[in-house]
Amino acid sequence: MPKAVEMRHIRKFFPSSGVLACDDVNLSVEKGEIHAIVGENGAGKTTLMSILYGLVQPDEGQILIDEKPVRISHPNEAIHSGIGMVHQHFKLVPSFTIAENIMLGIEPNKAGFINSTTEAETVRKLADSFGLPINPNARIADISVGMQQRVEILKTLQRNAQILILDEPTAVLTPQEVHELYNVIRKLAQGGRTILLITHKLLEVKDVADRVSVMRRGRLIGTHNVADVSIRDMANMMVGREVILQVEKKPAQPGDIVLKAENLLVAGSGGVPAVFGATLEVRAGEIVGIAGVSGNGQTEFIEAIAGMRPVEGGNISLLGTDITHRKVRDRRNTGMAHIPEDRMTMGLNLLTNLDENVAVTRYQEEPYSKAGFLQFSAIRSFAQKIIKDYQVKSARVGEEIKTLSGGNLQKVVLGRELDGNPKFIIANQPTRGLDVGSIEFVHKTLVEARDKGSAILLVSVELDEILSLSDRIIVMFDGRIMGVLDIKDANEQDIGILMAGGSLEKDHPAQEKA
């Protein structure tokens, strides 16, 4: 089989965030195949594809298209080399018609004037030739998300793309639309086009791809025939087996129910539910871990509980108080603390100093303010206490915090959130991007909080982290809770099956979708 794409020794380092997104990646894709690239968020798969599409320049490495070396420094050059990309967030103009969007930038014109009838006709012919019926005169704002995706695909085909990159194409689709998309992809591949599918949904890989490459932390772990690997194998490759330092902890002594969420319904992007009927309980003195491949509703679930996202159905109660539609401040006053996934924009305000950052959750309470006036001495000594207790290095009271490293920033967040023994702690990816020392510190701190009686809800894409910290494990898939396991009975295999949408009673992954 001739090779459609070869990427050799690709390396990309982002100095601003200090992330090595691609580390000596070698990828080879055969002509006419559907090649899936899987990996967690931040594994480097999107960066790799951005390099191929000319959006990002690699530090090192070589790209070959149709076995000829090419330089792709701009998307225009990628398009010229026959590469098309369908982005996760569609790049369409909502008020334009389908035809106008497909022909944008390559409009047939006479002296600058566009003939919209020929345009619509061209698009109709194109769509018919690929068996993808559309109405060229419908406006993008009026059509479904699935149809919009079809427009994006046609847009690349009109530009004569032979290699199609699809970035998380099913993230916003309904099950029926997913099914149609599979048919389209298969048809295009049969027609000799090469499909590169970026995803972290393993079921999807099994359904539609020929071969799969697994990425983890910037490295390409391996390429396999899909027929030869099981979903569980892929999940294991994705999550990795690197041993995280063992967390010393006593068995949990769960107390009363602290948090209760029932039948939660939360909207995702594109009008599809991100969380569909999830129910959960967290007791005092236990850590409940939510496992799952990222993008299966964990973030939305957590944000709904934290008050950062509206709840459309079901209810949440914290310490017996109904907080379903309460503001963040009320939740915090009831006893909630939140370590957010995104500490740079949500957890901290990098434009101000340490004092103002640690004050945000308690500036209204004494002694941090009196009669509406901030008490800087109290705030400063609190900041000082965090610096000392949480070993925040190179931080100084009153200084801007944007110079601190990721680990130290996270320690600031931890200190602010965990101080004062909150009754309920949400910890979303608490160790993402941290060095080993900081990870150990975060784990120890969370276990200490548990032993002091806090109820902790933990989300992590690192399965090992879930396994070593949690007392109970909940597995989410496609917005639903697939199962609840006690840590004594939990093993990676079972979790892997649940994470892939399977059930423990049956052997094969079942698709129980509504």
């Binding site: 790049k91 103009v93 944008l104 930038g105 039948n263 319904l265 539910p273």
Partner: protein
């Protein structure tokens, strides 16, 4: 209420448009000729200014420097005619070139040097307002007003066929060329925006910059062109104020018309044809206000009439915002009912199975 408004949005819009046109026609025929004529004249700077604001907005740049570009156009038109004594049409061309050049400067300062858009506009307006008066005094020794018999005003034009039709002749014919340029520009801008490649690229850049970039459109270039065109239109609008009325330049003669033009374009929701009617509405209120000032017997406050179109514009903006908010709420409610139902069905099915 929300449901009704959302479901019948198109019908409501159509009804409003038809009602508007009918009222417009009635006013056009029913009002005294003088009022119709002065409304049309007074609407001209708004038409051109609103088109200028529109071209920039459509390209995704809020152009708050319209007033400065208008003022510059007004000044340059007079200066060129004063220095050369050429045909006044040269003044209009010079005004549009000067406006276009200021638009280009605006584009470069905003896109290359990346000065904050609003601060930049404020600084440019301030600069033009002061520089025009400065030169008027320094180079021409004029105080407050720059006028000279050598500056010829724009002649009036009798339209060939219309001038022989009874009712229409005095209402549609006999204005100076900039009035007609304004009308033609409505069509031209409409054609550019909706029928040419350039216009489509402008709209794509303004609506979804990333979509335009992803297909290889040079966003910066499109914005530079749009801002230059916007400046040229504003310059023509300015020339109407100076050589289209009294053939003189008066200190700060735009009197905030550039800002009003921005309001007009917002009121017209960036549609050229709507901008024509909105401008006429603003022109009419100004004309009535002037008319009333000359009628000592009538006791209607003329200045409040000038506020009326502004109030209407604000109300229109608020109504649109309400509609957007209502649509969001409706979407959320539909989501909750639809999937809530589905969830309940699923639960029941599970219970029945057990």
């Amino acid at each position: 209420m929300i449901d009704f408004l959302t479901n019948n949005a198109r019908k409501i819009r159509l009804t409003l448009i038809i009602a508007g046109i009918l009222i417009g026609l009635l006013l056009f025929i029913g009002l005294p000729v003088i009022l119709v004529q002065s409304s049309i004249r007074l609407a001209t700077p708004y038409i051109l200014g609103a088109l200028a604001a529109m071209v920039a907005s459509r390209a995704g740049v809020l152009n708050l420097a319209i007033d400065g570009k208008m003022l510059l156009g007004a000044f340059i038109a007079v200066v060129v005619l004063y220095k050369t004594g050429y045909n006044p049409i040269v003044g209009v061309v010079a005004a549009s070139i000067s406006g276009g050049m200021l638009g280009l400067v605006f584009a470069v300062l905003y896109l290359r040097i990346k000065i904050n858009l609003i601060i930049l506009a404020i600084a440019l307006n301030l600069f033009v307002a002061n520089a025009t008066v400065f030169f008027m005094r320094v180079s021409f020794g004029a105080f407050g007003t720059l006028a000279d018999p050598s500056i010829s005003g724009l002649p009036t034009i009798q339209l060939p066929i219309i001038s022989s039709i009874p009712i229409l002749n005095e209402r549609l014919s006999g204005y100076n060329i900039v009035v007609y340029i304004g009308w033609v520009m409505i069509a031209v801008v409409w054609l550019i925006l909706f029928r040419t490649r350039f216009g489509r690229h402008i709209r794509a850049v303004g609506e979804n910059r990333e979509a335009a970039e992803s297909v290889g459109i040079n966003v910066t270039l499109v914005q530079v062109f749009a801002l230059t065109l916007s400046g040229a239109l504003a310059g023509i609008a300015g020339s109407f104020l100076s050589i289209g009325v009294l053939s003189q330049f008066v200190e700060n003669m735009t009197a905030g018309r550039g800002w009003t033009a921005i309001t007009v374009s917002l009121f017209a929701f960036q549609q050229p044809i709507a901008a024509f009617f909105t401008s006429l509405f603003f022109g009419l209120s100004e004309a009535i206000s002037l008319y009333l000032q000359g009628q000592p017997g009538i006791n209607i406050p003329p200045d409040l009439l000038l506020a009326a179109p502004q109030v209407a514009a604000l109300i229109a903006l608020v109504l649109v915002a309400v509609r957007i908010r209502a649509a969001e709420l409706l979407k959320r409610r539909n989501f909750a009912t639809h999937f809530g139902q589905e969830l309940a069905n699923l639960k029941r099915a599970v219970l029945e199975r057990n």
